[in-house]
């Protein structure tokens, strides 16, 4: 059958998937700490087209290469910092992650520059990604997860939790038991919890993830690291800053999202039209070319 029909159908599916991703980004316009996701598209593997059976005395001839469609290959989170919004609510703890990476060149530390997407190139010419800082939390089963959700509450047992119930861990790797609301607790930029008299009540465990793209999104604002626990380490206080009374808003740009949504829809439509044209060609072939 006509190859292009399947190519166009693949295009429809890929753009549908992009549309789904953008819809989810728009849905999370007001979710604190949400990171937008983009779909990376890739063409199907190239095929080499050969002309065969041209004649007994002539060998087969190469025509050229052909791609037979496109797909969403991977979904990339955008790790840029979300804008901070002042709420004056003491239980909002925005985490600002600004981790600089240095490498030694002839005994002199040289900083690696990262672009807006957090990608940089080291002296050896390898691609490196900017590490990100996260709150370290436990889920219901007591497994370690990471989150940028900046809204916290203290539950009836006095444990510090995120708004969906993940227990927040302290430097000792155990859930922080405050026994009082955060209204009477001051949180320093380095994550130390102090009471009114300046007594230390605990310290938040902030984890530095060297390659944040290795994280798997679980929903509800939490991520997990699979198999590669060594890539997570307690962050240096210089790497991050906690601001009490602020939330980190979602980093979804609504204008960009609406534009992308329109593009995805129209690209879907264009592919649909192509399927229709192929259908018309087939119709001609079936009903008119063969007519006697």
């Amino acid at each position: 059958m006509l190859r292009g029909m399947y190519t166009a159908a693949a295009g429809m599916i890929a753009h549908q998937r992009r549309h789904d991703l953008i819809t989810n980004n728009i849905a999370n316009l007001n979710t604190p700490g949400y990171k937008a996701q983009v779909g990376v598209m890739r063409s199907f593997p190239e095929m080499l087209i050969n002309l065969v059976n041209e004649g007994a005395d002539r060998p087969s001839r190469t025509i050229g290469t052909l791609n037979t469609g496109t797909m969403v290959e991977e979904v990339l989170p955008i790790w840029t910092q979300g804008p901070l919004q002042e709420t004056a609510n003491a239980s909002d703890l925005a985490l600002i992650s600004n981790i600089r990476v240095f490498e030694e060149v002839d005994g002199v530390p040289v900083e690696i520059r990262f672009d807006a997407s957090g990608r940089g190139v080291n002296q050896a010419g390898e691609t490196v990604y900017q590490p990100q800082a996260f709150y370290t939390v436990w889920n219901e089963a007591g497994e370690v997860r990471y989150t940028r959700n900046s809204q916290m509450v203290v539950d009836a047992e006095g444990l510090l939790r995120t708004t969906d119930g993940h227990r927040v861990l302290g430097q000792d790797g155990q859930p922080i038991a405050l026994g009082r609301s955060l209204d009477s607790v001051r949180v320093t930029p380095a994550g130390v919890l102090l009471d009114g008299q300046g007594e230390v009540l605990g310290s938040l465990l902030i984890t530095r993830i060297d390659n944040p793209y290795a994280l798997i999104r679980e929903g509800a604002g939490v991520y997990r690291l699979e198999g590669n626990e060594a890539a997570a380490a307690a962050a240096d206080p210089d790497d991050f800053e906690i601001r009490q009374g602020f939330v980190e808003r979602s980093n979804v740009d609504p204008a960009q999202a609406v534009t992308d949504l329109m593009v995805a829809l129209r690209a879907y439509e264009a592919n649909q039209r192509i399927v229709q044209y192929y259908d018309k060609s087939l119709e001609k072939a079936v009903n008119e070319v063969g007519r006697v």
Binding site: Q16, P32, A156, Q272
Partner: protein
């Protein structure tokens, strides 16, 4: 069903509830003792669509699998207990609290049959509720018209330090000081110590549930001392900066400017989300029209 549609539908539901909360706040702009409500969003569980091993190519940043989000939901709702403006009324039974505390009221417990629950001696059983609405009045005891009790506008009893109803001698002039101590002066100028209002300090505002009429109660699984702490005496009140003001009422703490900003925000997010929904609908229509 179309993935985008599910995402949009669940998120529209969450946004609708956010709009309801804002409408509730705006409607209670002039309600004495009203505490504004707030809510936060969280993204819904992310699923991972498995990908074959052949998708693991050089240059891929994320682990295998396509992550799919399913929108956002309202994750938590709470009351904001910040101070409202006290307004002078000159009425002796209008009381306002300065600082982080609540009045305690006793509400008769209603059984499953709709009748008040009685204890073994035939007396009604009361449950505590807490409020910042200090618009109190004197109500006569149905059994003894000479006895007057301090009650809320609907006849709910205000309780004293010992958890008892507060009886005020008929025809007396009542003075309530900053610590909540009630003194009644009879016509003869004789001072009668009536008792002291029970005030509780809010330890953890997130554990209080709004039950309507500007009152708050505790859920069954929340221990009292994790959310509230009865104030021991005048000294502790002074330390915590808590005082009772006679002749004043605390206005609602709703800030109309903030609510309107939130309203615009939520409404635009709602609009965007419906836009994504109609876009998904158009895609479905296109798919249906593939064949002419």
């Amino acid at each position: 069903m179309n993935h985008s549609m599910i995402t949009a539908a669940s998120s529209l539901y969450g946004l609708q509830r956010k709009l309801d909360i804002i409408a509730d706040n705006v409607a209670n702009l002039n309600t004495t003792g009203y505490k504004r409500k707030d809510a936060s969003f969280q993204d819904i569980l992310t699923t991972v669509k498995a990908q074959p091993q052949s998708m693991e190519l050089a240059g891929r940043r994320t682990p295998l699998g396509l992550t799919e989000g399913w929108g956002a939901r309202l994750s938590m709702q709470w009351s904001d207990f910040s101070q409202g403006t006290p307004v002078s009324t000159g009425q002796p039974f209008d009381l306002a609290i300065e600082g982080n505390a609540l009045f305690e009221l006793a509400v008769p417990r209603i059984g499953a049959d709709g009748q008040p629950v009685l204890d073994e001696n035939g007396n009604p059983v009361f449950d505590p509720v807490w409020t910042r609405n200090g618009a109190f009045q004197l109500s006569p005891d149905p059994a003894d018209g000479e006895r007057l009790y301090l009650t809320a506008a609907d006849g709910t009893f205000v309780v004293d330090e010992n958890g008892e109803k507060i009886a005020i001698p008929r025809g007396s002039r009542v003075d309530i000081d900053a610590t909540g101590t009630i003194t009644a002066y009879t016509d003869a100028g004789e001072a009668v110590n009536v008792g002291r209002l029970r005030l509780v300090r809010i330890v953890n505002p997130h554990l209080l549930t709004a039950v309507g009429s500007q009152r708050f109660a505790l859920a069954d699984n929340v221990p009292l001392n994790s959310a509230l702490e009865p104030l021991a005496g005048p000294q502790q009140m002074a330390e915590e900066g808590i005082a009772v003001r006679q002749g004043f009422l605390e206005q609602s703490n709703v800030d109309l400017t903030k609510e309107m900003t939130d309203l615009i925000n939520a409404q635009r997010a709602f609009q965007l989300m419906s836009r994504a929904l109609s876009s998904a609908d158009t895609m479905w229509d296109l798919a249906n029209k593939l064949r002419g």
